[in-house]
């Protein structure tokens, strides 16, 4: 469920916000950001208030998560998100909080290609409307809360170790390039779907054996290269490569995964990427950021 939170919720939400912008002075912004702000407190809350993770409340959270995702998507489908709208902000907050509670209640990590195929399928729906992947997040929360989430095989531990924060930061830097490139055109969605498929493929035993030979440093250098060299016309190939590289690093993260660390790294990476791509006036950056296009 960590991957669902990271890609179908957090990634999709930030992708939407890069499209529509957040006005920091508006109360709706606080609502949208609430699940992310609560994220570092979830472990402590879970310890001090164990009833929060009781079966009944988790089921309610899963249900609310699905209903708010459906509500949000029904309102926004074909339309555009007025991010100052309090009602939409509240729905977004409910979805995030519900999902967060469900993820926290399921410490076991789902693994296997099925999970990444599921993520890829929902990412692809972004081609029809960018809000639809959030429905995937809500539905996953609902299924998990009611015990219907298909558990994958336990992940075979990797001999190498990687830092969750830095791995996610590097992904946050690289992954949004197609969002910035295609913007309102939905073409970023198949690119994200291919990325998810490639992450899943990196876990397949034959491929994993080969990719395991690559050191963390080499993988990070190749990811950094993908940040600089982004061929817009070959974005699908680019995302497959990024998926394989990052998928290999994902398998090396220490388990159990620390969701706050992962999320923080991801968010910082995404924000940094946004800031860099929005400041092309800086001479060196101008040459660097869209190199390959």
């Amino acid at each position: 469920m960590n991957a669902i939170w990271l890609f179908l919720y957090l990634g999709c939400l930030i992708q939407l916000l890069t499209l529509y912008r957040l006005d920091l002075n508006k109360p709706a912004t606080l609502l949208v950001a609430l699940p992310i702000l609560l994220l570092p407190l979830m472990d402590r809350l879970g310890r001090h208030l164990p009833w929060l993770l009781g079966k009944g409340l988790v089921r309610l959270a899963g249900l609310l998560s699905l209903l708010s995702a459906l509500g949000m998507a029904r309102i926004l489908n074909l339309g555009f998100w007025e991010t100052r709208h309090l009602g939409l902000g509240a729905l977004c907050a409910l979805l995030g909080l519900g999902l967060l509670l469900v993820v926290r209640s399921m410490p076991r990590e789902s693994a296997g290609p099925g999970l990444w195929l599921w993520i890829a399928a929902w990412e692809f729906t972004g081609l029809w409307h960018p809000v639809l992947p959030l429905v995937g997040a809500g539905l996953s929360a609902f299924l998990a809360a009611f015990g219907r989430w298909p558990e994958g095989e336990p992940l075979a531990p990797s001999t190498r170790r990687a830092s969750p924060f830095w791995i996610m930061l590097s992904l946050g830097l690289v992954l949004p390039k197609p969002w910035f490139d295609f913007n309102l055109e939905g073409n970023w969605a198949p690119v994200m779907a291919v990325f998810a498929l490639a992450v899943g493929a990196a876990g397949l035993s034959r491929l994993r054996k080969g990719l395991d030979r690559l050191s963390n440093a080499l993988l990070l250098i190749l990811l950094a290269l993908a940040f600089v060299a982004y061929p817009s016309a070959w974005a699908l190939v680019w995302s497959a490569a990024v998926g394989l590289l990052w998928g290999t690093l994902w398998l090396r993260l220490p388990r159990p995964l620390s969701l706050p660390k992962l999320s923080l790294g991801f968010i910082l990476g995404l924000l940094l990427s946004y800031a860099l791509h929005s400041n092309l006036g800086i001479p060196v950056l101008r040459r660097l950021l869209w190199w390959g296009s």
């Binding site: 699905l66 555009f80 991010t83 996953s140 609902f142 299924l143 295609f182 092309l280 296009s293």
Partner: protein, 388 residues
Amino acid sequence: MTRWILPYLGAALALLIVGLPLRTRLDAPRLGAPAIVRPGTTFEVEFATSLPFVPWRLAANAVERQWGFRLESGGRHILGHRSQGNRHWITLVDATPVQGAFRLPTDGLEHWGEGTLPDRMVLVHAADFPSTGKEAMLEHFVDEMAVVKPQAFLASGDLAYDSSETWYRFMLGQFRRLEAMGIPVIACPGNHERGGWARFLNHFGPHTTHRVDLGPFRVISLDSAHGRDRLTPSQFQWFRQQLDTLEGRVPLVQLHHPIFPPGAAILGDGEKSGGPLFGYRDGFVKLCLERQIPIVLTGHWHQDAVFDAEGQFRDDRADFPGTKFVVTTALGDALRRVTRWPYRYHGYRILTFEKGKLLRYTHDLPGQPSPTPIASTPSGTWLGEAKP
């Protein structure tokens, strides 16, 4: 994999809940990006449906019901269709002869019939509109257009400093007035539209870059305000494709941000206007020269300026060779002093073409040589002349 059957069934059900009853979004043609076509020439109506994989006839019925027009009405006939996911493109043709320059849209679909356009064509360009409290400025501008009678009005962004629905309703009302005069409006967004981005997209549709073929011209509108002051790789690629398929038309380009910085012509700190095009500037300028684009129209600085392809500020003469990279003063927002050009006034720019060749793009100011370099037309000039 059977474990995943239930989730996928749930996914299909969720998509149905989100998408039913079937709704549509008309993407093209829209106000600001109309389809202007000669009789017998095809054009496409593009729309999206709230559910993917809907048969095109069902989708077409839904778009007609929701938007209140008939795809096949008058002389309009469906020639073909294609679909991809939830996107539909329906090819239409209308062979009805057009009296005069244009047949105006009457049923809400922005389909203009193009008749006989004069050899000498006039286009008007403006940017950086007035805002709430200065509504009269926009009304007067539209009144003035009734005198100038251009063949089209190009609006290069910062149309809505106030992103309220009230302002949008008022501005769109003024655009409709222009249309009623037979003046199609071709618009692109600026940075201020980002303040109420959803509202702009709701009113103008999701294609913020588009092309409109108008007589001998292909008007290409770009969106330079992604992130900040830039084109994106895919947008630049799209721009190149438009230039590759000109079919003998003269390309005209509009975008909000000036292409070049003021450079040595800057006055003080240029009132911190900033905002030249950063991403893809070199490639953009190269393409403009290669494809002999006569003029690139921009705004953003709230003061007139003109540059040549070398990025030199051309306050020496108006008729230099090569592409003119033009900045037009604000139509109504606060004026600034960005460059050494001494004039500051609200205005718009009149472009005169003869058989597609740019003849004039500046306005002669009193006491200045003719043609005066750089200068746009001060607001009210033609309205004043028309008064008895």
